[in-house]
């Protein structure tokens, strides 16, 4: 008899929906169906049962083809690479558990690696701004129960976090928000009329790249100062009107995404958005939140934060101290300058998501990629080590976008003989110890 596993946590985006119901075959091997997930979340679970999944490590041959090798051989190759390299980029971590991360960091400390996560090409700008000016934030539960003004600025949850709007930000009825959608006023600021904008009460079309100017104008309007006729393509009357409405909120929230972090101005855009939030707190209660995309990227920031004091791009190559300097220890810059001697990728796909010049540099170095599936990066790596899917085939701790830790669930067994991230990293760690004891370094 197939059985239903309830309260399953979705392992795709930073919303970490915790109400999925997954139907599993009675031998615990196959997922038969998923309920409550969005299209992306459902695909994540459905992919588990697809045929053709790689179940053993593969090594690239001189002719470009791949040959199957044993886990022992792959672990030995990886440990040797790590011990030999004076500076290794250890990038990824966003789709694995916090437990696996801490083992990875232990290895990085020993071999002198640079640990970086997906924030580096995502919300890195936000983290710089938060380090500079702090962040008045809250949890998604507070938003559901209290927020009556919601601003989406440069983010498109309709595509990137499909259930965010129905679970937390637009539609749900909460303790003080009993009218649900009707009781909330939704603003969307974007350079495109996105599907999120279509759900908003008011869409403000900003000229691409003029977010800083517009945020600055909001701050100016909040202080009752004069504005030019238009800012970033938005008429001043509109700006005054919106700011006055935001001041009347009982609880307001600004969600922001890649539209701010990737655009000209980067961290300065976030900096001023946080300062606008701070200004609004002179009138009412206001909070701001980054729409963290890649599942447990927030967790990687948390674990690095409490271990080394920095949320991403942590350079441990000096052994006695942790360093972090954006532009210097960030992955894309390291690769652009060809400054690392080897690459170790886990639980992400820089091959698909880094600019090509960085990946050309990466492809010339010894590279190991740890990922459940074949992806772009595995196909330019020397070794690909498949692992169990975290949140599907093995549990572990992950952090939601509002920094709430959630223990994820295992719903099915991994394919026979496939290691989990934790098991694999533990074995690499032991092999590194053995090699170093022999005087490898």
């Amino acid at each position: 008899m197939p059985k239903e596993v309830t309260d399953v946590i979705c392992p795709f985006c930073g919303t970490l929906c915790d109400d999925l119901i997954v139907t599993v075959s009675d031998d615990n091997k196959t997922i038969l169906g998923v309920k409550n997930a969005c299209a992306i979340g459902a695909e994540k679970f459905n992919h588990q049962r697809q045929p053709g999944r790689v179940k053993r490590p593969r090594m690239r041959q001189a002719d470009g083809s791949y040959k199957e090798i044993t886990y022992d051989e792959a672990i030995d190759w990886t440990a040797n690479m790590l011990v030999k390299s004076r500076k290794t980029l250890m990038y990824g971590w966003a789709s694995t558990s916090c437990q696996a991360m801490s083992i990875g960091h232990e290895i990085a400390e020993k071999v002198g690696g640079i640990v970086d996560n997906c924030a580096t090409v995502c919300h890195g700008s936000s983290l710089i701004a938060i380090e500079d000016v702090g962040v008045p934030s809250c949890t998604l539960g507070e938003i559901k129960n209290r927020a009556d003004r919601v601003v989406f600025w440069g983010c498109n949850p309709a595509h990137a976090h499909p259930r965010h709007m129905s679970r937390y930000s637009i539609f749900p009825r909460g303790f003080f928000t009993v009218k649900g959608h009707k009781g909330r006023k939704i603003y969307c600021v974007d350079c495109r009329y996105t599907d999120t904008a279509k759900c908003a009460d008011e869409f403000i079309q900003v000229q691409q790249g003029f977010d800083y100017e517009l945020l600055n104008a909001f701050r100016t309007a909040a202080r009752g100062e004069a504005l030019p006729d238009t800012v970033g393509g938005v008429p001043k009357e509109k700006i005054y009107e919106i700011v006055e409405d935001l001041k009347t909120a009982r609880f307001g929230i600004i969600f922001f995404g890649m539209g701010l972090t990737h655009t000209m101005g980067r961290n300065h855009n976030i900096d001023i958005a946080i300062n606008l939030t701070r200004d609004m707190n002179d009138h009412t209660k206001f909070a701001i939140m980054a729409m963290r995309g890649h599942w447990n990227v927030t967790g990687s920031g948390q674990v690095l934060g409490w271990q080394y004091g920095f949320p991403y791009a942590v350079d441990l190559s000096r052994r006695d101290q942790a360093r972090h300097q954006t532009g210097e220890t960030t992955s894309v810059d390291l690769l652009n300058r060809s400054e690392v001697e080897a690459c170790f990728y886990i639980a992400t796909d820089p091959g698909a998501h880094f600019p090509v010049d960085a990946m050309i540099s990466s492809s010339r170095k010894p590279t190991v990629t740890i990922d459940p599936h074949i992806n772009c990066t595995t196909e330019i790596s020397d070794i690909h080590i498949p692992v169990a899917l975290v949140g599907v085939e093995v549990g572990g701790c992950a952090y939601r976008m509002d920094n709430v830790p959630i223990e994820t669930r295992k719903v099915v067994d991994p394919p026979e003989g496939v290691l989990t991230d934790e098991e694999l990293l533990t074995r690499i760690n032991h092999r590194v110890d053995e090699l170093m004891a022999k005087g490898g370094q």
């Binding site: 079309q205 810059d333 652009n336 698909a352 492809s363 772009c376």
Partner: protein, 136 residues
């Protein structure tokens, strides 16, 4: 008269189809279909003289990529174009970061020209090709 080459402001973003495709697998047809398109404003398509669903060559300061021009569904303003994130978009994303760690994923100039008879490379192929890993 249609122009042979037009310059547009390029942004790369996530779409839900890209997300679903990614989870279906980087080598899947779903991923290919979701990410090898460039959303354009109808006015820009007219300016270039390109029909819907025709391949175009997009060139930035770092390189070129072949994708399919489609009319935008999420309304863009004229002059703005959008390719979903993935190895095709990243083939033309400039890698400089202004010392922030973040490359220029949004807001860089590109030249667009019609390339109706050129083939769109696969996800792995487009990357391997750039890295010089394809043995010809």
């Amino acid at each position: 008269m249609a122009e042979k080459k037009i310059t547009l402001n390029m942004i790369t973003c996530r779409t839900i189809q890209q997300g679903v495709g990614m989870e279906a697998g980087k080598t899947s047809q779903k991923y290919f279909d979701a990410c090898t398109i460039m959303h354009m404003h109808p006015e820009d398509m007219k300016r270039l003289g390109v029909w819907k669903n025709t391949n175009v060559k997009v060139t930035s300061s770092v390189g070129s990529v072949i994708v399919k021009a489609v009319e935008t569904r999420e309304d863009l303003v004229p002059g703005l174009a959008h390719i979903p994130m993935g190895p095709w978009a990243n083939r033309i994303v400039p890698a400089y970061t202004f010392s922030t760690g973040e490359p220029c994923f949004k807001g860089f100039p590109v030249d667009v020209e019609i390339a109706a008879n050129e083939r769109i490379l696969g996800a792995v192929e487009v990357l391997q090709d750039a890295c010089g890993l394809i043995r010809k």
